[in-house]
């Protein structure tokens, strides 16, 4: 990491840390069934993930071009915040991967040690796919049934846009005949509703 990037990381923590934490928290809730007051795999929290990613960039200074465990480097050609978010995503994924049983298999006997270990497929099993479909159904239904959605035609229209695969702000602006700022505000409201629905399901 170049010195100026390191300094940027140190001097802009006030801006970067909340953005990283928000992303870690969203991913943890959405992808890893996390909710406030609980821990992720290996007892970690979203805050731990942010701290570890932050420190890994600082530790990576001066080791550019090398792949060393616990060290990360910035690519000057890519967006800074996107790289930080990508690292959060990767750290969360690695956490669940590390905690999976395949990494904890220890040979108990010499015979065990000699036996080749077969790792299972990383593809979702039919049961996992069914779980994921059930989860999606539960979230979508909870969002549609939310009192704030029921009470707002604008939010219902926004949901209809998402159902029609119209997912980008610009497209929604055009489809719903609203200003960009209005769509952005509606998306923030919808975001809070989705989050509430998922957290409730994670709790159940």
């Amino acid at each position: 990491m170049a010195d100026d990037q390191l300094q940027y990381l140190m001097q802009h923590a006030e801006d970067l840390v909340p953005v990283m934490y928000d992303h870690a928290r969203m991913l943890a809730i959405r992808k890893y069934g996390w909710r406030e007051g609980k821990t992720l795999a290996l007892g970690k929290t979203p805050e731990d993930i942010v701290r570890e990613v932050y420190v890994s960039y600082i530790n990576g200074e001066g080791t550019e071009g090398q792949r060393i465990k616990g060290m990360r480097h910035f690519n000057p050609a890519k967006d800074f915040v996107l790289q930080l978010k990508g690292s959060i995503r990767s750290a969360l994924w690695a956490l669940t991967d590390k905690s999976s049983t395949k990494n904890e298999l220890l040979a108990r006997t010499e015979e065990d040690a000699a036996r080749p270990v077969e790792f299972g497929s990383t593809e979702a099993t039919p049961a996992e796919s069914a779980d994921s479909a059930d989860f999606a159904k539960a979230v979508v239904e909870a969002v549609n049934e939310h009192p704030k959605i029921k009470a707002s035609q604008d939010l219902q229209d926004l949901i209809a846009a998402f159902e029609l695969d119209v997912t980008e702000v610009e497209e929604q602006t055009e489809m719903l005949g609203k200003k960009k700022e209005q769509i952005t505000q509606l998306r923030y409201q919808l975001r809070a509703i989705i989050l509430e629905a998922i957290q409730k399901l994670n709790k159940d």
């Binding site: 840390v17 909340p18 001066g62 999606a136 979508v140 952005t184 923030y188 989705i194 989050l195």
Partner: protein
Amino acid sequence: MSKNHVKMLKNLDKVLLDDAGETPAEVRQRLEAEGVDVKGLVARVKAAAGEAYRQRLAADAREAQVEASKSKGKVFGNLVGLGREKLLGLIHAAGSGSYGPVATARCRNQKPEELSEEDLRTLLEDIESTIQK
């Protein structure tokens, strides 16, 4: 129907995970409204980052020290026990090009006559480490 729900949730993920419309200040404000102690969070991450940075600097300093001790004596020999005149002689020789252009450049703008014997040794060790690099 279930496939539609999965696809719909993927679409809604864009609102949760990809929305880049908020400024950092807005994100901070929203987190605070959701009950997150943002000030404490930033302070804890900054403290960990600061500690990592200090450890990094200390490791770099140790490395530099090891490098310096490796190069000690390789150019000017053992400086311990050399008198002021000999030390000055070495610096003048370095300044006039006897030890190469790097040493000459390092001696530029120096006033060795004004330095103590100990400082002369330090300067020579410094020049030595520069030449070694």
